[in-house]
Protein backbone atom coordinates (compact mmCIF):
# COMPACT_ATOMS: atom_id res chain seq x y z
CA UNK A 1 0.00 0.00 0.00
CA UNK A 2 1.26 3.45 -0.80
CA UNK A 3 2.56 5.29 2.20
CA UNK A 4 1.59 8.84 3.07
CA UNK A 5 2.96 11.28 0.57
CA UNK A 6 4.03 8.54 -1.76
CA UNK A 7 2.78 9.29 -5.21
CA UNK A 8 1.38 6.73 -7.55
CA UNK A 9 4.10 7.66 -10.00
CA UNK A 10 6.75 6.52 -7.56
CA UNK A 11 4.91 3.28 -6.92
CA UNK A 12 4.51 2.69 -10.62
CA UNK A 13 8.19 3.26 -11.22
CA UNK A 14 9.06 0.64 -8.65
CA UNK A 15 6.48 -1.96 -9.57
CA UNK A 16 6.72 -3.38 -13.10
CA UNK A 17 3.24 -4.88 -12.81
CA UNK A 18 1.77 -1.46 -12.14
CA UNK A 19 3.60 -0.12 -15.18
CA UNK A 20 2.04 -2.86 -17.27
CA UNK A 21 -1.41 -2.18 -15.89
CA UNK A 22 -1.06 1.53 -16.59
CA UNK A 23 -0.22 0.69 -20.21
CA UNK A 24 -3.38 -1.40 -20.33
CA UNK A 25 -5.43 1.39 -18.79
CA UNK A 26 -4.04 4.31 -20.76
CA UNK A 27 -3.24 2.76 -24.14
CA UNK A 28 -5.37 -0.41 -24.33
CA UNK A 29 -2.06 -2.18 -24.72
CA UNK A 30 -2.95 -5.82 -25.47
CA UNK A 31 0.65 -6.94 -25.19
CA UNK A 32 0.93 -5.52 -21.69
CA UNK A 33 -2.30 -7.24 -20.74
CA UNK A 34 -1.05 -10.56 -22.14
CA UNK A 35 2.10 -10.19 -20.07
CA UNK A 36 0.08 -9.66 -16.91
CA UNK A 37 -1.97 -12.77 -17.71
CA UNK A 38 1.22 -14.71 -18.30
CA UNK A 39 2.75 -13.57 -15.01
CA UNK A 40 -0.22 -14.15 -12.75
CA UNK A 41 -2.11 -17.07 -14.26
CA UNK A 42 -0.48 -19.82 -12.18
CA UNK A 43 -0.84 -17.95 -8.90
CA UNK A 44 -4.43 -17.02 -9.59
CA UNK A 45 -5.46 -20.49 -10.72
CA UNK A 46 -3.78 -22.04 -7.68
CA UNK A 47 -5.63 -19.74 -5.28
CA UNK A 48 -8.96 -20.34 -7.00
CA UNK A 49 -8.28 -24.07 -7.13
CA UNK A 50 -7.79 -24.20 -3.36
CA UNK A 51 -10.75 -21.96 -2.80
CA UNK A 52 -13.20 -23.79 -5.05
CA UNK A 53 -12.08 -27.25 -4.04
CA UNK A 54 -10.42 -28.27 -7.29
CA UNK A 55 -12.03 -29.12 -10.59
CA UNK A 56 -12.00 -27.31 -13.92
CA UNK A 57 -13.88 -24.29 -12.59
CA UNK A 58 -10.68 -22.64 -11.38
CA UNK A 59 -9.32 -21.93 -14.87
CA UNK A 60 -12.66 -20.65 -16.12
CA UNK A 61 -12.99 -18.35 -13.16
CA UNK A 62 -9.39 -17.18 -13.53
CA UNK A 63 -10.16 -16.19 -17.11
CA UNK A 64 -13.21 -14.35 -15.88
CA UNK A 65 -11.06 -12.48 -13.36
CA UNK A 66 -8.64 -11.37 -16.09
CA UNK A 67 -11.52 -10.28 -18.32
CA UNK A 68 -12.89 -8.24 -15.43
CA UNK A 69 -9.47 -6.67 -14.93
CA UNK A 70 -9.48 -5.58 -18.55
CA UNK A 71 -13.04 -4.30 -18.60
CA UNK A 72 -12.57 -2.26 -15.47
CA UNK A 73 -9.14 -0.97 -16.46
CA UNK A 74 -10.29 2.64 -16.49
CA UNK A 75 -11.10 2.37 -12.79
CA UNK A 76 -7.64 1.16 -11.87
CA UNK A 77 -5.60 3.49 -9.67
CA UNK A 78 -2.08 2.50 -8.67
CA UNK A 79 -2.62 2.96 -4.95
CA UNK A 80 -1.74 -0.64 -4.18
CA UNK A 81 0.14 -3.52 -5.71
CA UNK A 82 -1.38 -4.90 -8.88
CA UNK A 83 -1.72 -8.30 -7.19
CA UNK A 84 -3.88 -6.75 -4.47
CA UNK A 85 -6.27 -5.41 -7.09
CA UNK A 86 -6.23 -8.70 -8.98
CA UNK A 87 -7.02 -10.78 -5.89
CA UNK A 88 -9.68 -8.31 -4.78
CA UNK A 89 -11.53 -9.03 -8.02
CA UNK A 90 -10.81 -12.73 -7.63
CA UNK A 91 -12.20 -12.72 -4.10
CA UNK A 92 -15.39 -11.06 -5.28
CA UNK A 93 -15.95 -13.45 -8.18
CA UNK A 94 -14.97 -16.54 -6.21
CA UNK A 95 -17.38 -15.77 -3.38
CA UNK A 96 -20.14 -15.24 -5.95
CA UNK A 97 -19.27 -18.56 -7.59
CA UNK A 98 -19.31 -20.39 -4.26
CA UNK A 99 -22.67 -18.89 -3.35
CA UNK A 100 -23.97 -19.83 -6.79
CA UNK A 101 -22.92 -23.40 -6.16
CA UNK A 102 -24.79 -23.47 -2.89
CA UNK A 103 -27.96 -22.30 -4.61
CA UNK A 104 -27.80 -25.06 -7.21
CA UNK A 105 -30.00 -28.09 -6.55
CA UNK A 106 -28.13 -31.00 -5.07
CA UNK A 107 -28.26 -34.23 -7.06
CA UNK A 108 -29.44 -36.96 -4.68
CA UNK A 109 -27.03 -39.83 -4.20
CA UNK A 110 -27.69 -43.26 -2.70
CA UNK A 111 -28.28 -42.88 1.00
CA UNK A 112 -25.49 -44.08 3.26
CA UNK A 113 -25.15 -44.36 6.97
CA UNK A 114 -23.42 -41.04 7.32
CA UNK A 115 -25.65 -39.13 4.94
CA UNK A 116 -26.04 -38.71 1.22
CA UNK A 117 -22.45 -37.71 0.64
CA UNK A 118 -20.87 -40.51 2.63
CA UNK A 119 -18.78 -40.12 5.76
CA UNK A 120 -18.26 -36.51 6.71
CA UNK A 121 -14.67 -35.27 7.03
CA UNK A 122 -14.95 -35.12 10.80
CA UNK A 123 -16.19 -38.72 10.92
CA UNK A 124 -13.34 -39.85 8.75
CA UNK A 125 -10.90 -38.09 10.98
CA UNK A 126 -12.40 -39.62 14.09
CA UNK A 127 -12.01 -43.01 12.46
CA UNK A 128 -8.46 -42.20 11.54
CA UNK A 129 -7.62 -41.22 15.09
CA UNK A 130 -7.96 -44.85 16.08
CA UNK A 131 -4.98 -45.63 13.92
CA UNK A 132 -1.44 -45.21 15.07
CA UNK A 133 -0.15 -41.66 14.68
CA UNK A 134 2.72 -42.94 12.62
CA UNK A 135 0.42 -44.56 10.11
CA UNK A 136 1.94 -44.05 6.71
CA UNK A 137 -0.61 -42.53 4.45
CA UNK A 138 0.06 -42.18 0.85
CA UNK A 139 0.62 -38.60 -0.16
CA UNK A 140 -2.56 -38.53 -2.21
CA UNK A 141 -4.62 -39.73 0.76
CA UNK A 142 -3.02 -37.14 2.96
CA UNK A 143 -3.67 -34.43 0.38
CA UNK A 144 -7.32 -35.52 0.26
CA UNK A 145 -7.64 -35.26 4.03
CA UNK A 146 -6.07 -31.82 4.03
CA UNK A 147 -8.36 -30.83 1.19
CA UNK A 148 -11.37 -31.94 3.23
CA UNK A 149 -10.13 -30.03 6.26
CA UNK A 150 -9.75 -26.90 4.13
CA UNK A 151 -13.21 -27.41 2.69
CA UNK A 152 -14.52 -27.60 6.24
CA UNK A 153 -13.70 -23.92 6.73
CA UNK A 154 -16.20 -21.29 5.75
CA UNK A 155 -15.58 -19.29 2.57
CA UNK A 156 -13.97 -16.30 4.20
CA UNK A 157 -11.74 -18.36 6.45
CA UNK A 158 -10.66 -20.39 3.45
CA UNK A 159 -9.88 -17.30 1.41
CA UNK A 160 -7.83 -15.81 4.25
CA UNK A 161 -5.93 -19.06 4.72
CA UNK A 162 -5.21 -19.47 1.02
CA UNK A 163 -4.00 -15.89 0.60
CA UNK A 164 -1.87 -16.11 3.73
CA UNK A 165 -0.41 -19.51 3.02
CA UNK A 166 -0.03 -19.61 -0.75
CA UNK A 167 0.22 -15.93 -1.65
CA UNK A 168 2.25 -15.08 1.44
CA UNK A 169 0.05 -12.06 2.09
CA UNK A 170 0.21 -10.23 5.39
CA UNK A 171 -2.86 -9.41 7.43
CA UNK A 172 -3.09 -5.83 6.09
CA UNK A 173 -3.06 -6.95 2.45
CA UNK A 174 -5.59 -9.71 3.11
CA UNK A 175 -7.77 -7.12 4.81
CA UNK A 176 -7.61 -4.92 1.71
CA UNK A 177 -8.41 -7.79 -0.63
CA UNK A 178 -11.33 -8.99 1.46
CA UNK A 179 -12.62 -5.59 2.52
CA UNK A 180 -12.10 -6.26 6.23
CA UNK A 181 -10.16 -4.70 9.07
CA UNK A 182 -6.78 -6.10 10.02
CA UNK A 183 -8.23 -7.12 13.36
CA UNK A 184 -10.99 -9.06 11.65
CA UNK A 185 -8.43 -10.88 9.52
CA UNK A 186 -6.43 -11.77 12.62
CA UNK A 187 -9.53 -13.23 14.21
CA UNK A 188 -10.54 -15.01 11.01
CA UNK A 189 -7.15 -16.64 10.62
CA UNK A 190 -6.87 -17.71 14.24
CA UNK A 191 -10.26 -19.46 14.10
CA UNK A 192 -9.38 -21.04 10.78
CA UNK A 193 -6.07 -22.36 12.03
CA UNK A 194 -7.69 -23.65 15.17
CA UNK A 195 -10.20 -25.61 13.11
CA UNK A 196 -7.51 -26.93 10.78
CA UNK A 197 -5.47 -28.11 13.73
CA UNK A 198 -8.48 -29.86 15.19
CA UNK A 199 -9.13 -31.66 11.91
CA UNK A 200 -5.53 -32.52 11.11
CA UNK A 201 -4.11 -33.18 14.55
CA UNK A 202 -3.79 -36.96 14.00
CA UNK A 203 -1.51 -36.33 11.05
CA UNK A 204 0.84 -33.64 12.27
CA UNK A 205 3.19 -36.10 13.97
CA UNK A 206 3.24 -38.61 11.17
CA UNK A 207 7.01 -38.43 11.11
CA UNK A 208 6.96 -40.57 14.22
CA UNK A 209 7.63 -37.95 16.84
CA UNK A 210 5.08 -38.33 19.62
CA UNK A 211 3.45 -35.13 20.79
CA UNK A 212 4.71 -35.44 24.37
CA UNK A 213 8.32 -35.06 23.25
CA UNK A 214 7.44 -31.52 22.34
CA UNK A 215 7.08 -30.81 26.03
CA UNK A 216 10.71 -31.55 26.59
CA UNK A 217 12.38 -29.83 23.74
CA UNK A 218 10.38 -28.29 20.99
CA UNK A 219 13.39 -27.29 18.98
CA UNK A 220 14.62 -30.86 18.85
CA UNK A 221 11.50 -31.92 16.98
CA UNK A 222 12.18 -32.84 13.41
CA UNK A 223 10.17 -30.67 11.11
CA UNK A 224 7.46 -32.06 8.90
CA UNK A 225 9.16 -33.36 5.79
CA UNK A 226 8.87 -31.06 2.85
CA UNK A 227 6.61 -32.53 0.22
CA UNK A 228 8.46 -33.23 -2.99
CA UNK A 229 5.87 -31.45 -5.08
CA UNK A 230 5.52 -28.42 -2.86
CA UNK A 231 6.20 -25.22 -4.73
CA UNK A 232 7.41 -22.27 -2.81
Amino acid sequence: VAGPGETSTLMALRDPDIRLMLRVRDADDAQAFAELVERYQHRLVAVLHHLLGGGPDAEDLAQEVFLRVYRTRQRYHPTAKFSTWLFTIANHLALNALRGRQRRPVVPLPTQESGPLGPRPAEQLVHARTEAPGHHLQQQELADLIRQALDGLNERQRMAVVLNKFEDMGYAEIAEVMGLTTKAVKSLLSRARGRLREALEPYIYMDGTPPHVADEDAEALPSVPTPPDAVT
Binding site: A30, F33, A34, V37, E38, Q41, H42, V45, A46, H49, H50, A58, E59, A62, Q63, F66, L67, Y70, R71, Q139, L142, A143, I146, L150, V161, N164, K165, F166, G170, Y171, A172, T182, K183, K186, S187, L189, S190, R191, R193, G194, L196, R197, L200, E201, Y203, I204, Y205, P211, A214, D215, E216, A218, L221, S223, V224, T226, P227, D229, A230, V231
Partner: protein, 180 residues
Amino acid sequence: MNTEPLNPQPADDPPLDELVAYLDGELDELQTEAVEARISLNPSVRREAESLRKTWDLLDYLPRPQTSGDFTNRTLSRLDLAELSRSAPRRVPGRRWLGTVLIVAASVAALVLAGLAGYAGRALLVPAKPAAPPVTPDEEAQLLADLRVIDNLREYQQVEEIGYLRGLAEPDLFGDGEGR
Protein backbone atom coordinates in the same frame (compact mmCIF):
# COMPACT_ATOMS: atom_id res chain seq x y z
CA MET B 1 0.98 -3.90 13.46
CA ASN B 2 -1.12 -5.07 16.35
CA THR B 3 -1.10 -2.63 19.23
CA GLU B 4 -3.15 -4.59 21.72
CA PRO B 5 -0.98 -5.31 24.78
CA LEU B 6 -0.56 -8.89 25.84
CA ASN B 7 -1.41 -9.94 29.31
CA PRO B 8 1.82 -9.30 31.27
CA GLN B 9 1.25 -12.40 33.41
CA PRO B 10 3.77 -14.89 31.96
CA ALA B 11 1.97 -17.90 33.39
CA ASP B 12 -1.18 -17.20 31.37
CA ASP B 13 -1.54 -18.77 28.00
CA PRO B 14 -1.67 -16.22 25.21
CA PRO B 15 -4.92 -16.28 23.29
CA LEU B 16 -4.98 -18.29 20.12
CA ASP B 17 -5.02 -15.27 17.85
CA GLU B 18 -1.88 -13.91 19.51
CA LEU B 19 -0.13 -17.21 19.04
CA VAL B 20 -1.17 -17.43 15.41
CA ALA B 21 -0.17 -13.81 14.78
CA TYR B 22 3.20 -14.58 16.37
CA LEU B 23 3.71 -17.54 14.05
CA ASP B 24 2.72 -15.34 11.11
CA GLY B 25 5.20 -12.65 12.11
CA GLU B 26 2.45 -10.11 12.58
CA LEU B 27 3.31 -8.95 16.12
CA ASP B 28 5.53 -6.03 16.93
CA GLU B 29 8.78 -6.49 18.78
CA LEU B 30 7.40 -6.21 22.30
CA GLN B 31 4.54 -8.55 21.68
CA THR B 32 6.86 -11.03 20.02
CA GLU B 33 9.16 -11.05 23.02
CA ALA B 34 6.22 -11.57 25.35
CA VAL B 35 4.92 -14.56 23.43
CA GLU B 36 8.39 -16.07 23.15
CA ALA B 37 8.82 -15.77 26.89
CA ARG B 38 5.62 -17.69 27.46
CA ILE B 39 6.58 -20.34 24.96
CA SER B 40 9.89 -20.90 26.65
CA LEU B 41 8.37 -21.03 30.13
CA ASN B 42 5.19 -22.97 29.49
CA PRO B 43 5.37 -26.42 27.83
CA SER B 44 1.67 -26.40 26.96
CA VAL B 45 2.04 -23.10 25.11
CA ARG B 46 5.06 -24.48 23.33
CA ARG B 47 3.15 -27.59 22.37
CA GLU B 48 0.25 -25.54 21.11
CA ALA B 49 2.50 -23.32 19.01
CA GLU B 50 4.24 -26.36 17.62
CA SER B 51 1.00 -28.07 16.66
CA LEU B 52 -0.22 -24.92 14.94
CA ARG B 53 3.01 -24.64 13.01
CA LYS B 54 2.97 -28.27 11.97
CA THR B 55 -0.66 -28.06 10.89
CA TRP B 56 0.23 -25.07 8.75
CA ASP B 57 3.12 -26.98 7.20
CA LEU B 58 0.78 -29.83 6.28
CA LEU B 59 -0.91 -27.53 3.75
CA ASP B 60 2.24 -27.83 1.66
CA TYR B 61 1.06 -31.32 0.73
CA LEU B 62 -1.79 -29.88 -1.28
CA PRO B 63 -1.07 -30.13 -4.99
CA ARG B 64 -0.34 -26.88 -6.78
CA PRO B 65 -2.19 -26.90 -10.08
CA GLN B 66 -0.64 -25.40 -13.17
CA THR B 67 -2.61 -23.76 -15.93
CA SER B 68 -2.82 -25.37 -19.32
CA GLY B 69 -0.27 -24.19 -21.86
CA ASP B 70 -2.60 -22.06 -23.93
CA PHE B 71 -4.23 -20.26 -21.03
CA THR B 72 -3.04 -16.81 -22.14
CA ASN B 73 -4.20 -17.28 -25.73
CA ARG B 74 -7.57 -18.63 -24.64
CA THR B 75 -8.02 -15.69 -22.29
CA LEU B 76 -7.14 -13.19 -25.02
CA SER B 77 -9.53 -14.95 -27.41
CA ARG B 78 -12.32 -14.67 -24.88
CA LEU B 79 -11.46 -11.02 -24.49
CA ASP B 80 -11.64 -10.47 -28.27
CA LEU B 81 -15.03 -12.16 -28.47
CA ALA B 82 -16.36 -10.31 -25.47
CA GLU B 83 -15.16 -6.94 -26.74
CA LEU B 84 -16.50 -7.62 -30.24
CA SER B 85 -19.90 -8.59 -28.93
CA ARG B 86 -19.96 -5.48 -26.77
CA SER B 87 -19.00 -3.19 -29.66
CA ALA B 88 -21.35 -4.77 -32.26
CA PRO B 89 -24.35 -2.52 -33.18
CA ARG B 90 -27.52 -3.69 -31.53
CA ARG B 91 -30.75 -4.19 -33.49
CA VAL B 92 -33.91 -2.46 -32.51
CA PRO B 93 -36.26 -5.33 -31.59
CA GLY B 94 -39.39 -3.59 -32.96
CA ARG B 95 -37.94 -3.33 -36.47
CA ARG B 96 -36.59 -6.82 -36.77
CA TRP B 97 -39.49 -7.82 -39.10
CA LEU B 98 -38.51 -5.10 -41.55
CA GLY B 99 -35.11 -6.65 -42.11
CA THR B 100 -36.69 -10.06 -42.72
CA VAL B 101 -39.10 -8.65 -45.33
CA LEU B 102 -36.29 -6.87 -47.13
CA ILE B 103 -34.19 -10.02 -47.26
CA VAL B 104 -37.08 -12.08 -48.70
CA ALA B 105 -37.92 -9.40 -51.29
CA ALA B 106 -34.31 -9.16 -52.41
CA SER B 107 -34.12 -12.96 -52.78
CA VAL B 108 -37.25 -13.08 -54.93
CA ALA B 109 -36.02 -10.24 -57.14
CA ALA B 110 -32.70 -11.99 -57.59
CA LEU B 111 -34.43 -15.22 -58.64
CA VAL B 112 -36.62 -13.43 -61.21
CA LEU B 113 -33.66 -11.59 -62.69
CA ALA B 114 -31.66 -14.79 -62.89
CA GLY B 115 -34.52 -16.53 -64.73
CA LEU B 116 -34.86 -13.70 -67.28
CA ALA B 117 -31.14 -13.57 -67.85
CA GLY B 118 -31.02 -17.32 -68.43
CA TYR B 119 -33.84 -17.17 -70.95
CA ALA B 120 -32.29 -14.29 -72.86
CA GLY B 121 -28.87 -15.89 -72.87
CA ARG B 122 -30.23 -19.17 -74.20
CA ALA B 123 -32.09 -17.38 -77.02
CA LEU B 124 -28.92 -15.60 -78.03
CA LEU B 125 -26.50 -18.49 -77.75
CA VAL B 126 -28.49 -21.51 -79.10
CA PRO B 127 -29.20 -21.28 -82.90
CA ALA B 128 -32.76 -21.98 -84.04
CA LYS B 129 -33.43 -25.26 -85.85
CA PRO B 130 -33.50 -24.82 -89.70
CA ALA B 131 -36.84 -25.48 -91.43
CA ALA B 132 -37.23 -28.89 -93.17
CA PRO B 133 -36.77 -28.78 -96.97
CA PRO B 134 -39.85 -29.54 -99.10
CA VAL B 135 -40.36 -33.21 -100.25
CA THR B 136 -40.00 -33.83 -103.99
CA PRO B 137 -42.48 -36.06 -105.88
CA ASP B 138 -39.84 -38.75 -106.37
CA GLU B 139 -39.06 -38.86 -102.68
CA GLU B 140 -42.74 -39.06 -101.93
CA ALA B 141 -43.14 -42.07 -104.26
CA GLN B 142 -40.16 -43.80 -102.62
CA LEU B 143 -41.62 -43.27 -99.11
CA LEU B 144 -44.92 -44.75 -100.25
CA ALA B 145 -43.17 -47.78 -101.72
CA ASP B 146 -41.33 -48.37 -98.46
CA LEU B 147 -44.35 -47.73 -96.30
CA ARG B 148 -44.82 -51.37 -95.28
CA VAL B 149 -41.18 -51.65 -94.35
CA ILE B 150 -41.34 -48.44 -92.37
CA ASP B 151 -44.48 -49.60 -90.55
CA ASN B 152 -42.88 -52.95 -89.60
CA LEU B 153 -39.38 -51.68 -89.08
CA ARG B 154 -39.39 -52.53 -85.34
CA GLU B 155 -40.32 -56.23 -86.03
CA TYR B 156 -37.77 -56.51 -88.81
CA GLN B 157 -35.06 -55.31 -86.51
CA GLN B 158 -35.77 -58.28 -84.20
CA VAL B 159 -34.73 -60.93 -86.78
CA GLU B 160 -31.33 -61.51 -88.24
CA GLU B 161 -32.23 -62.61 -91.81
CA ILE B 162 -35.04 -62.18 -94.23
CA GLY B 163 -35.27 -65.97 -94.95
CA TYR B 164 -36.61 -66.52 -91.46
CA LEU B 165 -39.45 -64.09 -92.08
CA ARG B 166 -40.24 -65.74 -95.35
CA GLY B 167 -40.38 -69.14 -93.64
CA LEU B 168 -42.89 -67.73 -91.18
CA ALA B 169 -45.05 -66.77 -94.14
CA GLU B 170 -45.22 -70.40 -95.49
CA PRO B 171 -48.85 -71.70 -95.15
CA ASP B 172 -47.78 -75.27 -94.09
CA LEU B 173 -46.07 -74.18 -91.02
CA PHE B 174 -49.12 -72.96 -89.13
CA GLY B 175 -51.83 -75.16 -90.73
CA ASP B 176 -54.03 -72.42 -92.03
CA GLY B 177 -53.37 -73.30 -95.70
CA GLU B 178 -55.52 -75.09 -98.15
CA GLY B 179 -54.62 -78.73 -97.05
CA ARG B 180 -56.61 -78.36 -93.74
